[in-house]
């Protein structure tokens, strides 16, 4: 049965205040004066001109004692050591791979930072270099951790743990990095039946929970068996929920995704992306999150 839904566009409504907050956020646009007080140290997103502190990006002002910085809402990913990222291989070079992580420069995954199959620890030889393409090719997705940040801002990744490595079957959702909340762990096995990796760079990977938690995880053998229909439905629903949360600019973390999933259950999966259903689900999610806090 073919279904074609067309609608007239509706002007976006300004979303009301989303609940009790410590104070109103000081929002600035590029060129706005933050303060004329010269006693402050300037952080990211600011610059000094004519004895005034001026914002260079659009976002919210954050003040920590004497440090003033502006945190932008829509920005490229800025790597920090210890972040979990999901990236896509763009190039295979001599002793490293170039990984796309939605940052200003491509990230780098050195051959020496990659786990060898079987977990052996040895010096990488010339054969390893020649066999690089057998491990990771252009287009492959990996989960990795940021090892260090170069002086120009480029990020160096490593997959030196069994939980990182090449990703198999699943769905990738790309969101703005500022919407992913910093948490203790970014690998979540949701009770609804799928697992999710919330990359700090805004790449969210949704995949079916593997049955056995064995050494295969993070290995190089991808499971190519067809995923069952029930798992697919869960994954599609999660994907639509994440898109709904992102459209309404809610922070993404395991609880918000789970609440959104539960709020979306009465609707059909493909209806979640309709604007009115999206608003309803996100409103309910927001309410539950506020109840959780309060």
């Amino acid at each position: 049965m073919a279904a074609v839904a067309m609608r007239l566009p509706v002007a976006r409504k300004a979303v009301g205040p989303s609940g009790p907050r410590g104070g109103e956020k000081h929002l600035v646009a590029p060129g706005d004066t933050i303060t004329t007080d010269t006693g402050y140290m300037r952080g990211h997103g600011t610059y000094v001109a004519e004895e005034k502190l001026i914002a260079s990006v659009a976002g919210a002002v954050e003040r920590v004692n004497k440090l003033v910085c502006v945190k932008a809402l829509k920005t490229r990913y800025n790597g920090e050591v210890g972040d979990i990222v999901v990236g896509r291989i763009t190039e295979v070079q001599q002793k490293r791979w170039k990984v796309e992580t939605n940052s200003r420069l491509d990230s780098v995954l050195l051959l020496s930072s990659m786990n060898l199959p079987g977990g052996e620890l040895r010096r990488r030889s010339a054969e390893d270099e020649l066999a690089m393409r057998d491990y990771l090719q252009e287009g492959d997705l990996i989960s990795a951790e940021v090892q260090s940040v170069f002086s120009d801002g480029a990020v160096s990744l490593h997959t030196r743990s069994l939980k990182y490595g090449k990703l198999g079957q699943g769905v990738l959702v790309q969101v703005s990095p500022s919407l992913v909340k910093r948490q203790k762990t970014h690998f979540h096995d949701l009770p609804c039946g799928a697992s999710v990796i919330l990359g700090n760079n805004g790449f969210i990977w949704i995949y079916p929970t593997p049955e056995q938690k064995d050494e295969e995880a993070g290995g190089f053998t991808t499971n190519l068996e067809p995923v069952s229909l029930s798992d697919r439905e869960v994954i599609s629903r999660l994907r639509n929920c994440i898109v709904a949360l992102v459209t309404q600019k809610l922070m993404l973390f395991d609880t918000s995704i789970l609440y959104c999933y539960e709020a979306s259950l009465p609707h059909q999966i493909k209806d979640i992306l309709k604007p009115e259903v999206m608003e309803e689900i996100v409103l309910e999610t927001r309410q539950r999150l506020l109840d959780l806090e309060g």
Binding site: A3, R7, R88, G170, K270
Partner: protein, 291 residues
């Protein structure tokens, strides 16, 4: 065409999903994404429309100008298409990168509208062999999110529906030379009959099945696609195969049947939304680009 790179496992996931009639965003194989249609968005055109199909954003403007009829069709007006793939859509279209795609789309539009009866060209004639209306249809690609042809054809149909051509009178004075008088009343205009204007339905073959309205990721998994232009009555006017893969005759037949079915419901929804917009009249709140 803008394309994304996918890993083999992701492609496999998509292909298996299509086999089971459950795509990544929960749609079935014959479901379209939610489309937003708005007409009369550009003020200095005779007609315009903007269509948003998921991440695909198309803007069409129609300008009616006076011109001379073509030699082989002296009592008809004609349509001229121009497609601009702006660099806004993807960086690949920067400079002259989007020209190839633009000419391909324009040629497809010419082919579709060249079939008899899609638009009543005789109503565009003012003076046989001397004056006629030429409709310059300009298509602007603002964002590329998969399924360009469908979105463009929907936008073109909506823009033609919105086109208002001023009424002209031909006056003959004593010496026999003809003068054309434009009516003063801005609301005195003729509208085009778009009942028979076809829409394109793109069917992409993924695995053993075909899907309608493929996203960029799904297009990366499909090797061959069939573009079908269907009228509102379900008649097929034009067909084109794109892609480097092959299609066998049974698949083509199945895809044609699906295309006709989906095309009919597409036309029905589009006509409903256009009539609804028209009935709102001046009370309609224009959203445009700042909404």
């Amino acid at each position: 065409m803008a394309s994304v790179v996918l890993s083999e496992a992701e492609k496999l996931y998509i292909v298996h999903g299509v086999q089971e009639d459950l795509r990544v965003d929960g749609r079935g194989c014959e479901d379209y994404r939610c489309a937003e249609v708005e007409t009369d968005v550009v003020s200095n055109t005779s007609g315009s429309a903007r269509v948003k199909l998921g991440h695909t954003d198309i803007l069409v403007g129609v300008k009616a100008e006076m011109g001379t009829p073509k030699l082989e069709k002296p009592d008809e007006g004609f349509l001229e298409f121009f497609v601009d793939c702006s660099a806004n859509a993807t960086p690949e279209f920067e400079g002259r990168g989007g020209e190839e795609l633009g000419t391909e789309i324009a040629n497809t539009l010419y082919r579709i509208f060249s079939s008899e009866g899609s638009v009543d060209l005789k109503s565009l004639c003012i003076n046989p062999r001397e004056h006629c209306w030429v409709l310059y249809v300009d298509v602007l690609l603002l964002e590329c999110g998969g399924n360009l042809f469908d979105a463009i054809s929907i936008a073109v149909k909506a823009a033609l529906f919105n086109t208002r051509i001023p009424k002209v009178r031909v006056l003959e004075d004593e010496e026999g030379s003809k003068e054309i008088e434009l009516s003063d009343d801005p609301y005195d205009c003729i509208r085009l009959n778009v009942d028979d204007v076809p829409c394109i339905v793109t069917l992409s073959k993924i695995g053993y099945r075909h899907v309608v309205d493929a996203t960029l990721q799904e297009e990366a998994c499909s090797l061959a696609s069939l573009l079908i232009s269907v009228t509102s009555k379900g008649a097929l006017t034009c067909m084109k195969k794109v892609g480097k893969g092959s299609l066998d005759p049974e698949s083509i037949f199945e895809m044609m049947e699906t295309g006709k079915r989906v095309g009919k419901s597409l036309h029905a929804s589009l006509q409903k939304i256009l009539d609804e917009e028209e009935s709102l009249g001046t009370t309609r709140q224009k959203v445009g680009f700042l909404g």
